[in-house]
Amino acid sequence: MVKTMIKKISLIIILAIFLIIFIILQNDLLLNQSDLSRLYFLQNTLNETSSENIVTGIYLDYRLFDSIFEASTLLIAVSGIIFITRNYEYTTDTFFIFDKHKASNILTHLSSILFPFLLVFGLYIITHGHLTPGGGFQGGAILATAVLTTYYINPGRAINTKYLVLIEKILFIALILISSISLITRNTFFTNFIPIDKNNSHRTLFLITLNLFIGLKVSFGLINIFTSFLREESKL
């Protein structure tokens, strides 16, 4: 009892020292703030990336290298989870934990009504990523939840995840290939491959295709994670 008290008190002292150091260093943080980046993005983003949503313009054009490897972390996590939960004895009919008796009738009926609307809403968020708040990652999460509500509608049916990882890998390679076309057309890496003109409306094609690919990739990854969770629980 005394030992744990001493441990907790020493921990609180260490964390308080961290807090004091942060408060001292915080003045330097406020000194280094500037409005230059804000003004630059306000003036130049529409001309350079042709995206009305500035955040989408940053993560699909200025920092595309960064967001491609962000998408790769999800692929690595999915393959790690599949490796951990791998079934050595291949079972065709897995019993999932969602019992029809445990889930209430209101939930199952409402999810069967909501399912097509969720799919359309996710596709809307993905394809309008350069105009409204949202984008590939957010819309992909909505698509994944729409597919996962099918477990409520029909618990006996299992999603075949054998080919989902393969499709995800192909989508990731296609992402890298599309974003490196600009090496040929504009002589720079990882930007929009359509050169800058006065009429910028056709350049949004690049943003829409990249958002679609990222959204599909994220939704397949999340479906894979969830089904491997269910399969791991159903082993008990």
């Binding site: 921990l11 942060f22 306000l42 920092r63 960064d66 990652f137 969770f229 791991e232």
Partner: protein, 109 residues
């Protein structure tokens, strides 16, 4: 004042990781640290006069869009980290029969 508050949230997460007795609680504390970092970075780009960073007619000043686009990365990575941690905790429960750190360390000896 606001950056200090978000740093206090991060420190609460560290304290929870060090003292929690259940594995799921320590995974929740990882998510608390992630929420603290997101608050900290969004505070850096905030300005009271700024509008949302989407073009519309008569736009004058916006909030800084760089921290917002960086935080998308943080949210995705946080979700993958919590997913792998939870699947490892399921494996630990199958092997040791418990999710308390004390019982796991006892069975390890």
């Amino acid at each position: 004042m606001n950056p200090i508050l978000s740093f206090i949230i991060i420190l609460i997460g560290f304290y929870g990781i060090a003292t929690s007795k259940h594995i799921v609680k320590s995974i929740i504390c990882l998510n608390i640290i992630q929420a603290g970092t997101i608050l900290f970075f969004l505070n850096l780009g905030y300005s009271r006069e700024g509008d949302l960073p989407i073009y519309f007619e008569g736009i004058k000043d916006i909030v800084d869009p760089i921290p917002q686009s960086l935080m998308i990365t943080t949210i995705i990575i946080g979700s993958t980290i919590s997913a792998t941690a939870l699947i490892l905790s399921i494996k630990i429960f199958h092997h040791y029969g418990s999710l308390y750190w004390d019982k796991i360390f006892e069975k390890e000896k």
